[in-house]
Homo-oligomer: 785 residues x 2
């Protein structure tokens, strides 16, 4: 066998040489001619920035590939198999929720304990007035934790850096970012997130948890890590992009739910921000996953309440309970609410703008190599540590208010009135905000019924510091979420505004902080319903709902008039070919026929094709699908001889499989159904492995034929060439396509039945405008919402 | 002028006679031949039951009709006009919220006052032991109120009967039920709802409020009632089905929000249950509408708190506040929760099954005429009144518990411990549930921390009575909602279960009632996330969330294994051609080509067509669209002479407009763009008025020509004939089509460029199975969710 294959390889090498020679003489092969003209005008480079590296990305096949094998499999599915499929779907949704809940528990436990012991040790140094030792210890511990997280990220899974939400959003839109949902990414994300959050960096575990949920979902759906997959029979139905998409949606919802203990908010977050397609059935399944997560988290809290979780206290699971605050508001409160909303919109869009600039610079640094990435992360860590430790010394010590029931001052790891460097009976309000974990900082700044707790100067310092940190921390090579930095910034100016309003308003300052956080979230992330529900579930106060809604609406409106949401900015920056929901207005003035003319001519294959032509087509193009056209078929009644027939579309992956398996026919004939079923089955066709470079074909085999009919997707979606690009794009996105065939509007003998093929890249506004620059000038960027 | 038109009419009559003669000789006209074969196999009758009458229904045009006029208008839209459009869109969303909120306030005020004074009067009779007079008074008042509601419904707007939610659901799916959103429907719905609810019938104002919101939205969107529309220039952009769909979605959300004071629940209800298509932008706009509603309702409550609303008390705006209940639950509580869920699923599906049977019988009665409808409604009213008044006499008087802080016994119109026929110091627990408004009944049965208030026997009577009423009240000819009857039934068995569990569980009995109501809702209506949020907002208790989720999931799962949701059952019963999200599995084994073969051949029109042929096509078919095909066009380079070209598709309404305006050409030629713009504009083409019967064409004009090119939608969505029905249906529904052209897979000279046209009716499983009965046998009804 081995000798055989090496012989084959030699023969192929010889052929390749020959083919290479042929290529030098373009006249000798008519097929080569159009292929060399590729990327003439409508360029569509499938490249994106993945973990600070430029990678080649592919689209996903959400469409069902209805070829003969699939149809046979579909017909032969028994009732029992359908039930297996449904059962497994729900089991997977359950497992996704279960595992996400457990991992969220683990992260919370680890972060609270590591950060807790670190803070307690430093508190001891401060108590003994060994301030410098405290600084060194604090900075050193944070440095090591950051180093741990960054090394993991840089060396083992660069895609684990950042929140991961934009990539999930792109995945659910049909863009497969490489290495996003692997086992190594999952592990690095978990431990990297523990390290980064425990290091006191200005980032949250919320974004990473969403990514973790999606990784778990993806791994479960495919039966394990890439190299050690369980080839379980039941799982075979999940071996397609559609079902993976569904389960990853469940994973993303579970992640949000685990991050905020907000089951409905999690579902809505996926619906509003992450998912591109949505069905009622999916709503229900994601809801089930988040319900499981909530049950797990609740069980964990019950266990921890009995004191078995070390330093894990109330702060562990983020939930800022302001449910006991009596919310009273009147018509006059509309003024501060409007101010908060407008401020949130302005600051949110400003934040998006500045973060974009910082990320561009960071990308340049990160692309220089691993050392640069590490150095960047570590310098941010040192800066953060020094500020968090040093700034509280600027604040004046405040006397404890005896009317407040909470312990004051406190030297434990959490608590609302930190003693820090103050004498007994006094507390340091800035240390309450800075010298603590981020979760506790949020809880403290949200604290209600304590109107005199924070000095305006302290809040200003806090706000300024977190504005700087929020801009410069996000892009470093550790798993980082955006939610918490934004909540911290927003709550600071919210509370400041509350103080400024003074006696004018009766709304509690803690609620001002909540509203400030909500407004900045809406101003930056531009979500409405899901944020509203998340805040509802976070704060456990339904009476806040109407004012939260108004703040969110104002902030989003103001923000939208300046720039797109932060996730869209990151998608753009990474070059992920995200397909927008609304076509640009100028797309109505362009037909797909014109688009196809700007592309190299389409390469058609015959129903029964010569092997050499298939090899050439695969080698000389990067197309992932080819139309299959039958020439000179025996025509149906009423047509003249010489009709051509559009049989369908075949995927590159399937052609490669045919070549690899050498399913060749010595003569030009059509095969019977049993012949193809002997060699292939539907499940293996769903795999997307193998490239043309791995294929070895001998010169004799080159002259043989392949019957492509049984492997051809006979039902590709098509548009007529006179279709406007706007409508074609709506079809492409709504149905979730990877390729769309363009059929001619003319009927005539000798007319090819396919005049072009469109992909995601061809329909992106950016790419079209490069080829048709006059369109951009003719019409601004107005969109019909 | 008048003489002219009468001459024309005569001439046309003469022509028609001739045409009629021709029809007798089928050979003489080749066009007639295929038309007579209509409805041969694939029957698609566009009939539905609307307000107990069978009506002809039409599909909506959600697709943008891209003809030359539209394109010109699109190109010429200035930045200012786009801003006008956006501004108006938000203004309309605001107005929808405002008006829905105000009308909900009006209904609440009216119901509470009418029902309140009625109850107080009867209480006085009972106090004086004039029981029979009380019965007569009570029954009489209810009789008159029902009569008022039923007469309004029967005589002025039969479509106002029932909840209206199924029809809204159908509208948003693309089915235009006639007279659903008119001004008369709106007015009848408002006052009918007041009458029916005040009459103490077992129905809610929730469903009607959803319909009211949609009516308001529709009327605002089209600028007023059909006959008195404001032809405001700004509104012209809303003169299309797409924008009306969006605004009606806002209206439906506002309605739910007004019914339950649940803004997020309202948005989610529209999303999960009502809407077929959804976009993020729409999520935001509906959210804005519901926010406005909440603000209005809040303002109204503040005003009423100062006692200016007559008898309007706490009971007015439905909100069953159980927020003060401390929810503690443990692992062991999973058992009663599971039982409630399973019970809810079983009872919910049983309710759906029985209600279906009752509705079939009721439809037969209602179709017999107005008197029958009235008699049915009135007998239900009398039965209800007698039961509500008489049954409490069966209950034993209970001594008041001095430890409860509420007034006991009470003789006011609301209150938890009604004295009824009991001596002082005692209360009648059944009267607390029955002798009150439905809203108060729910509040009383939800009441927490009163474990000994209700006797099991009383709850059993309550449950049995409301099961009977719930089945027999819904179908009568008054505006009726399903939410409240289901909540009443569900809370009864929930509370019973709570009593049965006794000391086993620590969950409050009031919460059991809430969970019971939630489970029956999920078991019957099969919603999850939206119900969960509605219950969250109704009960104001976030800690209930996890158990509510589990109950809902179990109940829906159990219910789904028996029958579809109640709304789907009603849709089916009414014959509305609702297009399901998931294609049936057997649809993969059928191509659209086969479907087209089972239909009569498609009638193509030429680009420049003779008037007589257009008239014939319109008279002899019921098609609402015709493909426009150019024969023998000068072909593009490389094609032989004699190509045919698919130009697009033209709507019946536009052809009728051409005939009405007599835009005829004496010679066969193509027109210039200015010629058509002189005669037509885009706004009037959006109107759908006029039938072929109103058109009068002289015999001379019959020989003239029409250039159809500028009015043709040049970008219809198409599928190749080899496309499977399953995929075609996905396209049809996802993109929101009314017509879909089938193009041939063959390319040959003389081949027609269009081989068929598909509509909503052709893609409905029911219709296909009638024509292809073998498909039903080949595969069961398994669906891929």
């Amino acid at each position: 066998m081995e000798a055989d294959s090496s012989q084959l390889a030699e023969a192929t090498a010889a052929y390749n040489l020959e083919a290479g020679e042929e290529e030098r003489d373009p006249e000798s092969n008519t097929l080569q001619q159009p292929l060399l003209k590729r990327n003439r005008t409508l360029s569509s480079s499938p490249l994106a920035l993945v973990g600070a590296k430029v990678s080649h990305i592919e689209s996903l096949d959400y469409e069902i590939n209805e070829n003969d094998l699939f149809k046979h499999d579909w017909r032969s599915r028994s009732k029992a198999q359908v039930l297996q499929y449904i059962f497994l779907k729900w089991t997977l949704a359950f497992l996704v929720g279960l595992l996400t809940g457990l991992i969220a528990t683990l992260i919370n436990l680890a972060v609270e304990n590591i950060a807790g012991y670190k803070l307690l040790a430093v508190v001891r140094f401060i108590k003994n007035e060994r301030y410098l030792t405290g600084l060194v210890y604090f900075t050193g511990a944070n440095f090591l934790l950051t180093l741990f997280a960054a090394v993991l990220c840089v060396c083992f899974a660069p895609t684990a850096a950042g929140p991961g939400i934009p990539e999930i959003k792109a995945y659910l839109n049909g863009v497969d970012t490489p290495n996003m949902f692997g086992a190594s990414t999952l592990i690095v994300k978990i431990f990297g997130s523990i390290g980064a959050v425990a290091a006191g960096l200005d980032l949250g575990k919320e974004g990473p948890l969403v990514h973790i949920g999606s990784c778990i979902a993806s791994l479960l759906g495919q039966g394990g890590p890439d190299n050690y997959r369980i080839k379980w029979r039941w799982l075979r139905y999940f071996n397609n992009d559609r079902d993976r998409r569904d389960i990853i949606t469940c994973g993303a919802s579970s992640g949000v739910c685990a991050a905020f203990r907000a089951p409905v908010g999690g579902v809505l977050f996926s619906l509003e921000e992450v998912a591109t397609w949505w069905r009622s059935a999916l709503l229900w399944r994601t809801f089930f996953s988040t319900a499981v997560v909530v049950v797990i988290l609740r069980g964990f809290i019950e266990i921890c309440n009995s004191g078995k979780c070390g330093l894990f206290g109330k702060g562990g699971l983020i939930m800022f309970d302001v449910g006991d605050v009596v919310v009273t508001y009147h018509v006059m409160d509309a003024i501060p609410i409007t101010i908060i909303g407008i401020l949130g919109g302005l600051l949110g869009s400003l934040y998006n703008y500045l973060l974009h600039k910082v990320l561009v610079v960071y990308n340049l640094i990160n692309q220089k190599g691993r050392i640069h990435k590490l150095l960047l992360a570590l310098s941010v860590s040192i800066f953060t540590s020094v500020c968090l430790y040093g700034l509280p010394f600027l604040a004046k010590c405040q006397p404890c208010d005896p009317s407040v029931s909470e312990i004051c001052p406190t030297t434990s790891r959490s608590g609302n009135f930190k003693q820090f460097n103050c004498p007994d009976g006094y507390y340091n309000d800035l240390a309450t905000l800075l010298f603590t974990t981020n979760d506790d900082a949020v809880r403290n700044i949200f604290s209600s019924n304590t109107p005199r707790e924070f000095q305006p100067a302290s809040l200003l310092i806090f706000f300024a510091l977190y504005c700087i940190l929020g801009l410069f921390t996000f892009g470093i090579a550790v798993p980082s979420g955006l939610f918490l930095p934004i909540i911290l910034m927003g709550s600071a100016y919210g509370r400041l505004l509350g103080i400024a309003m003074g006696s004018y308003t009766k709304i509690d300052q803690g609620l001002y902080a909540v509203l400030g956080a909500a407004s900045l979230m809406a101003g930056s992330m531009r979500m409405t319903v899901s944020l509203c529900v998340i805040f509802l579930e976070l704060t456990n106060n339904l009476l806040l709902l109407p004012i939260t809604m108004i703040v969110l609406l104002i902030a989003k409106t103001v923000g939208d008039s300046f720039n797109p949401s932060i996730y869209e900015i990151i998608l753009e920056l990474k070059g992920l070919p995200f397909l927008d929901a609304n076509p640009e207005p100028w797309m109505r003035n362009l037909t797909v026929g014109e688009l196809a003319d700007a592309k190299p001519p389409v390469v058609n294959l015959c129903g029964v094709e010569k092997v050499s032509r298939i090899v050439e087509a695969l080698k000389n193009t990067t197309h992932n699908a080819f139309p299959v056209v039958d020439d000179g078929v025996v025509p149906p009644v009423g047509l003249t001889i010489g009709a051509t027939e559009l049989h369908g579309m075949i995927l590159r992956a399937h052609l490669v499989k045919v070549l690899k398996k050498k399913w060749f026919l010595p003569e030009k004939r059509r095969t019977e159904e049993w012949e193809v079923r002997e060699k292939f089955d539907w499940v293996e066709l769903a795999e997307r492995e193998g490239t043309i470079e791995e294929v070895a074909v001998t010169r004799n085999e080159m002259e043989m034929h392949v019957d492509l009919h049984p492997l051809t997707n006979t039902t590709p979606y098509t548009v007529v060439e006179s279709m406007s690009v706007a409508k074609a794009m709506v079809l492409f996105r709504q149905v979730g396509l990877r390729h769309m065939l363009i059929v001619p509007k003319y009927q005539a003998a000798g007319n090819p039945p396919v005049v072009g093929i469109l992909t995601r890249q061809d329909l992106r506004a950016h790419n079209i405008l490069l080829a048709f620059p006059h369109l951009a000038r003719s019409k601004g960027r107005e969109k019909r919402h």
